[in-house]
């Protein structure tokens, strides 16, 4: 046993630490301590991950159980490390948020803080298992575990949240069954093929072995295409790709505050991780002859899977963004944007060149930072005011300035404007689309960005700007325990926007782990033929510009006098607090008037069709059983059979 302990390398230590975190979260009954202890444990995990990233290379676990004739194993390479970093970081910040006052009020409301902490820790643990999987079976097992852990976390909020979680579960489980079918298929065929190819039978499901199988042509092209489709659908459901995205927004929006931040930041990106593994590690899509780049169809009208995927990604960018524009609940708005941003990630990766794939992968990190920041800021507002309804808020900037600042930085990041980090990843994706001459995809991606700008402005305007409501006069800023993670995230967004080279190093490690081309990144961005980007310089110039403008504004102009917004009159009347003088409802009236007929709820109708078909079959079958003449039926069946 002591021998075993000495053999622990960093991956094992990480997994062990994670398991210990789960155990402590479950067992620690003293709830006001457990928050702090668990936070420290996440910090420890983050340190370990940081050490692994700086050490570089690949870490494989000593845990290699042989189950059912297959050898399972766990292995963290650059790609897995990148995602693990984001996972542990998000968990750390979410736990930090709920360690203090938020947690206290949660417990006072009679809810189980322990359950929340335990489920969050369980989620982190299962996600780490998933990210470190090195063969199909361990991938699938940890995929299932992570899906169910996420379900449990979502279901914790009860009521509508539980319904949304159940909706998620059906989608996720169906996806898992599709993946399961493919895994079993490969396993069955692989075992016989293993003898031919002289590969270790027990390790046949390792990614490298499966890739070998594909290359050797053990499966025909139509079979490979079918497998790829099933796997992409199965994993794409978790990621929220169209048309399987309907579950995501309500499930994330209605989950408990900090849990929603965690889920929105990283949970669905696991689907992207799995898709990357499938596309690049198993199907080797980088090479020109790979299935992703071969065209199918007729002579005059053919399409490559790559193009199809790119279009699905763009559709995922555009549609959810415009649905987000219509939302009146802040969390729903953010959750819909979360779906849309996933499209950018896939789009960049599918382009498969050095800039695009870097942009797509970097966007995972960027999105996690600002999605977490935004969700936490909105949670703070809910904490103080009790509502997230955008038509019932307003003017909170004077009462909650730091939350406002966090939200502002978050939405600038979400919209992808300089100097925030979101701009860098979007720039990389745009450059890649430009280089490959994909005009329509480019326009689609930009439409998404523009829609995002509109939508997030509505968010910040209805929540923080405008006139303060009478009932919110006494609202104060949230306490430091809740502010700290928000401020950390804001600083992170700014810093990684200023020095994108830092996260780009991690991205580079991830890309090289799957064999994608890597560009030369410097601290400020990238020097590429055909146009470069240096965020250090651009941001410095931008801030200097602000500085100069501030100088002009404050010193050249006269001294300004602060005036209460109510000190005004309109339409011949003075303004009173009881009479709201604020425009928030139906914020984009003109635009909505134009595009409202375009919201046809197509996807919801499609979903409805599937469910109705099922209900129809079930109803007719049940009539079979309700009939009191089952004997006659049996007779008929027997006669038919004997025939």
């Amino acid at each position: 046993m002591s021998e075993f302990l000495f053999e622990l390398n960093m991956l094992d230590s990480l997994l062990l630490l994670s398991a210990v975190t789960v155990a402590i979260a479950i067992l620690c009954r003293v709830e006001y301590i457990s928050g702090g202890v668990v936070t420290l444990l996440y910090l420890a995990q983050l340190v370990v991950v940081g050490m692994m990233i700086s050490a570089g290379g690949v870490f494989s676990s000593h845990l290699t159980p042989q189950l059912f004739g297959y050898e399972l194993g766990w292995l963290l390479d650059g790609l897995g490390l990148y995602f693990t970093l984001i996972t542990v970081g998000s968990a750390l910040l979410a736990t930090l948020y709920m360690a203090g006052e938020w947690g206290r009020r949660y417990r006072e409301q009679g809810k189980s803080f322990r359950a929340l902490q335990s489920l969050l820790a369980l989620n982190v643990f299962t996600m780490q298992l998933l990210l470190a999987s090195s063969d199909l079976l361990s991938l699938f097992i940890s995929w299932e575990l992570a899906s169910w852990a996420a379900f449990a976390l979502m279901a914790l909020s009860g009521g509508k949240g539980l319904k949304a979680a159940l909706h998620y579960m059906i989608y996720a489980f169906s996806g898992a069954m599709l993946v399961f079918a493919v895994v079993a298929w490969i396993a069955t065929t692989a075992v016989t093929a293993a003898y031919q190819l002289d590969i270790n039978g027990a390790g046949i499901l390792q990614f490298s072995s499966v890739a070998e199988l594909m290359q050797q042509g053990i499966f025909t092209i139509p079979e490979q295409l079918l497998m790829l489709t099933l796997l992409l659908i199965g994993f794409g459901i978790k990621m929220g790709l169209l048309p399987f995205h309907l579950w995501q927004a309500p499930a994330y929006a209605l989950s408990i505050g900090p849990a929603g931040a965690f889920l929105g930041a990283i949970s669905s990106r696991l689907g992207l991780f799995a898709i990357i593994v499938v596309l690049f590690k198993i199907f080797g899509s980088i090479t020109d002859g790979s299935i992703l780049q071969s065209s199918f169809g007729f002579e005059f009208a053919s399409v490559t899977p790559k193009t199809l995927l790119a279009w699905i990604a763009v559709a995922t960018i555009i549609f959810p963004t415009f649905v987000a524009m219509r939302q009146n609940d802040a969390r729903h708005l953010l959750a819909w944007h979360g779906i849309g941003q996933g499209g950018y990630m896939l789009l960049g990766l599918v382009m498969m060149d050095s800039l695009g794939s870097a942009g797509g992968l970097l966007h995972v990190f960027n999105h996690a930072t600002y999605q977490a920041a935004l969700f936490l800021a909105v949670t703070s507002v809910i904490y103080r005011t009790g509502t997230a309804d955008l038509n019932r808020l307003g003017g909170l900037v004077v009462r909650m300035p730091l939350s406002f600042m966090t939200l502002l930085i978050g939405i600038i990041g979400l919209a992808g404007l300089p100097p925030m980090n979101g701009f860098v990843s979007k720039w990389l994706v745009y450059r890649s689309l430009l280089d490959q001459g994909e005009l329509l995809l480019f326009v689609g991606a930009v439409i998404g960005t523009l829609g995002t700008i509109l939508s997030v402005y509505k968010l910040i305007h209805n929540m923080f700007l405008g006139s303060l409501r009478k009932e919110h006069e006494e609202v104060r800023e949230v306490s430091w325990s809740m502010l700290t993670p928000m401020l950390i995230l804001s600083a992170l967004i700014l810093l990684t926007g200023l020095f994108p080279g830092i996260p780009l190093q991690w991205v580079a490690q991830g890309l090289s782990a799957v064999g994608l081309p890597v560009a030369e990144f410097n601290l400020g961005g990238v020097m590429a033929d055909g146009g470069s980007l240096d965020m250090v310089i651009v941001s410095m110039v931008l801030f200097s510009g602000f500085g100069v403008a501030a100088l002009i504004f404050y010193f050249v102009g006269g001294k300004s006098k602060r005036v209460n917004p109510l000190d005004n009159y309109a339409g011949g009347h003075f303004l009173y607090a009881s009479n709201r003088y604020h425009y928030s409802n139906n914020f984009y009236a003109g635009l909505m008037h134009l595009i409202k007929p375009w919201y046809k709820n197509t996807f919801q109708r499609l979903e409805r069709v599937v469910v109705t078909l099922l209900e129809l079959t079930a109803e007719s079958l049940s009539r079979l059983y309700m009939r009191p003449h089952s004997n006659q039926l049996a007779l008929i069946i027997v006669v038919l059979l004997l025939w």
């Binding site: 430009l434 700008i453 700007l465 146009g531 470069s532 510009g545 403008a549 504004f553 102009g557 300004s560």
Partner: protein
Amino acid sequence: MDTQIFTEISLSEILVELLLMPVIAFLVGLVMVLWMRKIGARVQRRIGPPLFQPLYDVVKLFGKKTQVSHGVVHDIGIVMAMGGYIAAETLLPVPGMNGIAVYGGIITLTYLMMIPSLGLALGVGQCANPNGSIGISRALTAMLAYDIPFVIIVFGVAFHHETTNLVEIITQQQQAGIASWGAVQNPLLALAGLATLQGMLGKQPFEIYIAPAEIATGPMVEMSGKYLGGLFVMQAFQLYTAAVLYVSLFLGGGESWFELLAKSFVVVSIPMMIAFVFPRYRTEDLVRLFWKWPVMIGLLGVAFVG
């Protein structure tokens, strides 16, 4: 493809450029404001304001005794509106000064130009006047409308020149005289660009976001004194940037300041002359219009990009 020429310039030169470019932009912008008002006057059979009127306006506004602020964000918004353009000017290469254009190409410039609008939106939001908020919502909607053909144009130009580096684009256009201008090689794109320019400048018939009689000038309703002065400065920058950008993309830039300025003033005249002839479009009609004609022309233009 050529790489950037930054190695030949020293740090002090860059700093000088970073200072000079916004100043020049501001001054030229003021003159453009005057130019526009003069044209408007002539169309309406008036004489128009005297030569230094825009400067007098700015000085007057900044020098007012009563400066009403509605909060910190109100101030910051105006600072952002001005500061964003000050920074954007350094990305726009002009004869003799490239600034930091090589460190962020046309995409960065496009995005930097959105920051002032965002700043303005934030500042107006804090004013807590619904007229302002309505104005901003319309302005953002209009941005959604004209930015799509704009993006198509940017794509087309960048794809044609195989670079997003503006210096490179200008250099390529100056290689063979008029024949290599963007307007000649991609006339459809240039045409779409003109329509986009009209929208960007917020000139009639696309000034629904101001709508003076309807929503009391929209975003500007609570702006006075130096706040309005800041917006004035922003307008000057906006005119300059839009015009010079169009010239750089389609009319071969300027090998000398005189050439650049001449072309810019011609470009700026076009929207002005159209502006006073049309009534105002409603928001949804605006959106529908931009999403139909300029987009189609732009797409056709890109299809022909060689």
